[in-house]
């Protein structure tokens, strides 16, 4: 290149373009920035993983260690389950933040208002703001039937080809919601711990129990129990089986659900 005023040739230092016209010297800072961005993205996504993306080793599933399953008790039972109630429940819980606010009344006196004494405190009001919510979906079942361990010798009488049997009244055997039956559908906030989740599940069990009772689970268990046992007795050669239900004292439902000493 020639300088017009001095006529001297100036030599400008230029980077050599490669075969494809790619200028490595000019693009070097760009390379460094791109590398830094890539490294940062890798650390952010794979190692920090703030949004809990299900990628790579960063979100590897937490696994339990192998431990022994210890059989603690073996109990002989004679439970004739004749009715089962199934339900898919939605269990919700909301956490609120409470704030106390003073309530004032404007004074009727114009002069007092001018002096800034225009309002008098008449009480307090509590305002609530929603700060967290959890929604669980739980699939549960309730098993009910006749407890044959309550049968005695006196409960059977045979006259010719007719059997007279008195069976115990139907009762609830189990209310079941297993961990695999629980789905965490929605959670907003970290206000729930192990204990509060257990209490929510227990609340779900109580609701399910109420629904099962309103569906007359015990009456249906009694009715089908009589029908089924009558058929079974007939297979043993009885022409007729007359079955009545023995009324027993009501079982403590709280103990069935496993909510002893729990206030909900």
């Amino acid at each position: 290149m020639e300088n017009k005023t001095t006529g001297k040739k100036t030599v400008q230092k230029e980077a050599k373009p490669n075969k494809d016209g790619f200028n490595l010297f000019k693009t070097r800072p760009l390379f460094l920035i791109a590398t830094a961005v890539l490294v940062f993205a890798f650390v952010f996504i794979f190692l920090i993983n703030p949004f809990h993306f299900n990628i790579g080793f960063a979100n590897r599933k937490l696994e339990i260690e192998k431990t022994t399953n210890l059989v603690k008790e073996i109990k002989k039972i004679a439970e004739f389950t004749t009715a089962c109630f199934y339900e898919e429940l939605v269990i919700e819980d909301t956490k609120y933040k409470y704030k106390e606010r003073k309530v004032y009344k404007k004074s009727d006196n114009w002069y007092k208002r001018q002096l800034g004494l225009g309002k008098t405190e008449v009480g307090t009001q509590i305002d609530s703001t929603e700060i967290g919510k959890i929604v669980l979906i739980a699939k549960g079942k309730i098993r009910a039937g006749l407890n044959f361990s309550k049968l005695t010798e006196d409960d059977f009488k045979i006259q010719n080809d007719t059997l007279y049997a008195t069976l115990p009244e139907a009762e609830i055997f189990d209310i079941i919601i297993n961990p695999s039956d629980i789905e965490f559908f929605h959670r907003d906030g970290n206000y729930w711990d192990e204990e509060s989740i257990s209490e929510l599940v227990s609340r779900g069990k109580i609701t399910m129990y109420d629904h099962a009772m309103s569906e007359n689970i015990l009456e249906k268990a009694n009715k089908y129990g009589i029908e089924k046992m009558s058929n079974i007795f007939k297979t043993f050669g009885f022409k007729e089986a007359i079955i009545t239900i023995k009324e027993t004292t009501a079982t403590d439902n709280a103990s069935i659900i496993g909510l002893e000493n729990k206030s909900l």
Binding site: E79, T81, E87, F233
Partner: protein, 183 residues
Amino acid sequence: MKKLVILICGLALMSMFSCKPEEDSLNKRIMGLETMAELGTVEYTVTKIIKANDPKWYKNGERKIIFNSVAYIKAGIDMQEFSMNNVTFNKEEKTVSVVLPRAKVLSFNMPPEKIHVAFSEISGARKEFTIEETNDLKIQAENAIREDIPNMGILQDAENNAKGFFKVLLTQLGFEVITIKFE
């Protein structure tokens, strides 16, 4: 005009992704009652320690947790298909032969309210276990117990107890020679 079209499209998209259908589906409850005829003859109470350690080489600190859990497993005989074909008897000789179906697990109950944290340690820059993570650990423990059921001998106990129950019942009904088999 163009802006109006964009606005309408935007509103239509927003209504598609609004939470209304989700709320509707939540309000629908599914329930049902069915009859059955299952004779439960044995109940096993199984305890398990749920242990999880979550070290990560690229994170500072550890997370450890231990739960105590208990599961109730009931096994017995499904009497739904029991019929005349399963029984042969002679009233004069007071003999009866009964063929019962093989025992099976009737119920599995691992109450969440009976699973308690026995130990928990969070160190360094690690976060607490979330309730979703701990529930996942409980599900793994539940599956581990379920997988171990065939090795517990519960089905054999259920059949022995069923045999004992029917022997007592058939004695009450006047039979003296009682044979019970499982098929």
